[in-house]
Amino acid sequence: MTKFLTLKNAIAEIVKNGDTVALEGFTHLIPFAAGHEIIRQKLRDLTLIRMTPDLIYDQLVGAGCAKKLFFSWGGNPGVGSLHRVRDAIEHSYPCALEITEHSHAAMANAYEAGAAGLPLAVFRGYIGSELPLANKDISSITCPFTGEKLAAIPSIKPDVSIIHAQKADREGNVLIEGIIGVQKEVVLSAKRSIVTVEEIVDNLEVTPNACVLPAWAIDVVAVAPQGAKPSYALGYYDRDNSYYKEWDAISRNRETFNEWLQSHVLTQGDI
């Protein structure tokens, strides 16, 4: 059942060192404010799960929060590399980073299976790909009816899931609208969850089949206006594509990144 907390208290209460944490949002609604609060609270040894690590995990990895990254596409979309992630993988800076790598279909299915309470996801995937040589979690089952061999991977069940959404009502029911990605799945599959929202409203004013997460399926709701920037929140603000382009230069070397971290995250106050 939802509690309303400040973002600072939400992270302090829900996220622990060593946790497996998924901050999701497929390009849209990426919970940057929550990620920055994790950096400020100096959480360590996290296993970070995300289909597209994006800038948010480049920042968390660069700040030294992560020991492992679980992902399916690790670039700066439309721009290039995630330099902090590469520096961690290639040169163990600021600390070593293990990786577990999947395809998007695999991770989407694994989140779906996690939300469905199943131990595995079954799908027609990885045919002819060499990713199974690189990831020992990729197995298979044989269909008892047709004999077809299908890919099987463990479902994803994070300790903590964090997403950003447009709004919550005063009971803590949350509306997610637009590109909804795997947001519902990641909250339902996690042991504990935080949803940051743009605002609290009296009434969600939704159509019958809107993507609404009930309050009793969420642990904490925290208000974080503009909490997805430089990602975006449909109906609130656009994606700051120029920021994504500028990130390339900021993240390319350790000094400019550390300066950015100092000035834009560590010395910023609570929301």
Partner: protein
Amino acid sequence: MTEYTSAEMMTITAARALQNGMTCFVGIGLPSEAANVARLTHAPDVTLIYESGTLQTKPDVLPLSIGDGELCESALTTVSVPEMFRYWLQGGHIDVGFLGTAQIDRFANLNTTVIAANHQETGKDGAHSYANPRVRLPGGGGAPEISTNAKEVFITVKHSKRTFVEDVDFITTIGFGRDGKGRDNLSNIGRGPSVVITDLCILKPDSATKELIVTSLHPGTTKEDVIEATGWEIKFSETLETTPTPSKKELEVLRELKARTEKAHSAKEAI
């Protein structure tokens, strides 16, 4: 004749590969550019689908990421990412998957995972490359399953010896496998790459061996240019054609699209 660049030639030729009425699962970057040019010229009823869940989208500017707000706002509807991969892609509703790549080999296998430190040592198996990377690429994303679950696959990529290699360092996404036989005896999967469009030429798999051969040279390109830019002993079709030049209308549409896109993506900087 209007002047045009080789990049424009590539995009417009790639656009022409899409037929009106097709459903196309679109990769970001070059494929997205080509697919939208197709939609704005000869294929107004092409259905564009992006892995972010946006079904039948008609962006006015090119998305920088696979999940820009523009894609959702101009879509018929937006579904969750698990639904996209399960129902729409794996469910068999995609006519063509349109992909880019970092490396492609003679059997149209794609590598977007790692460039090996020393290709000579790796042999024909990506496991060694994965353990010994020189360059870490973004990874598979949607491609591994797009390639097998779409009815066919189009590939568009700039032609160079670094990109067109005899054997990819790692098969992220199957073309026809390391021996050209990777799709044999597999039911329930699509027929794989049917065309590769570069800035120099058009390549298609030989119907028997599945080796990519040049079927059409772009105007002004010589066989020697292609031989020079290809990492294996490239073959040419006996009925080698010359690719038709871009029309004035096509160039106009492409240039306007790129101008609108540039303006939109830099406009945010002022905010």
